[in-house]
Assembly symmetry: C2
Homo-oligomer: 164 residues x 2
């Protein structure tokens, strides 16, 4: 695996700061787990991560979301929100609903079929993620959660300062 583009740690020289090796390890972990999730979604559900993420957002908003709110919430995973929505509508997983008081706007929401389909994908997704961390004891899980909490809080501060 040393030569794999997915093992980014191989890129760190020994003279590099410990933090750099830690960063490459963190990035490697997130890319390895994401790779497993993408493969599972493709093989078991013939779907993609952007489609899964879009349905996950709609599952959190049973009343539906306007397209611009949906796009905003999917900024990270990207993908063509309009194109994916069209696909999901064609497959009967998502429907377009009117917006009260705005005849030109519409909301999108999961259909009943979309809800049951997503529930099955989410159950499997959770199992993949549980697998990813099964090498850790309950105490390890807790430590990792706290340590990453410190990193997250600090980086949120930094990013906020930069944006000001």
């Amino acid at each position: 695996m040393n030569d794999s583009p997915l093992d980014l740690e191989a890129r760190a020289h020994s003279e590099h700061a410990q933090e750099l090796r830690l960063w490459l390890r963190l990035l490697t972990c997130s890319q390895l787990i994401e790779k497993r999730v993408r493969a599972g979604l493709r093989e078991q559900f013939d779907t993609t991560l952007p489609r899964f993420d879009l349905m996950a957002q709609l599952e959190r908003h049973p009343e539906g979301l306007k397209m611009k709110d949906l796009s905003h919430r999917l900024m990270v995973t990207g993908g063509n929100v309009t194109g994916i929505t069209d696909q999901l509508v064609n497959e009967g997983l998502v429907e377009r609903l009117d917006v009260d008081g705005d005849r030109r706007a519409f909301r999108v929401a999961l259909t009943d079929l979309g809800r049951t389909t997503f529930a099955e994908m989410a159950r499997q997704h959770e199992a993949w993620i549980v697998d990813a961390f099964e090498g850790l004891s309950p105490r390890d899980l807790d430590s990792l959660h706290k340590l990453l909490g410190k990193v997250k809080a600090h980086q949120l501060d930094i990013n906020q300062r930069i944006e000001e």
Copy 2:
């Protein structure tokens, strides 16, 4: 920041497995740090992460790389390798060199200008990464490195089993 698409943890319901919350926290950390790196590369060097990654690969291979080896090594960050290489050649940061015994192939390598430019970017990149983890004590850094090492080894095993 609760409503930000970058704080993925907000997506986890309380009934979800601890592992799922941990995964969203890990993903949030890596995306926040990557966002800071992208912003810094853009503002201080007018460049992008795929360009930086391509130059980082060439810095590790002073003898140059054939295009297919370069593409293989950049699979993760993606980007249009040929297009980026052309840009960097035009800017005098990268050059094309002949391959002995194969008149149709060529290698690409950093020029002297490319090497000094990359050294400055890499120094700054390392400083951003050191900043990202400055909320952690030396002991925390070590714990996080070990815990992520367990996650990485386990996920490499899983991915290998899946690919077989």
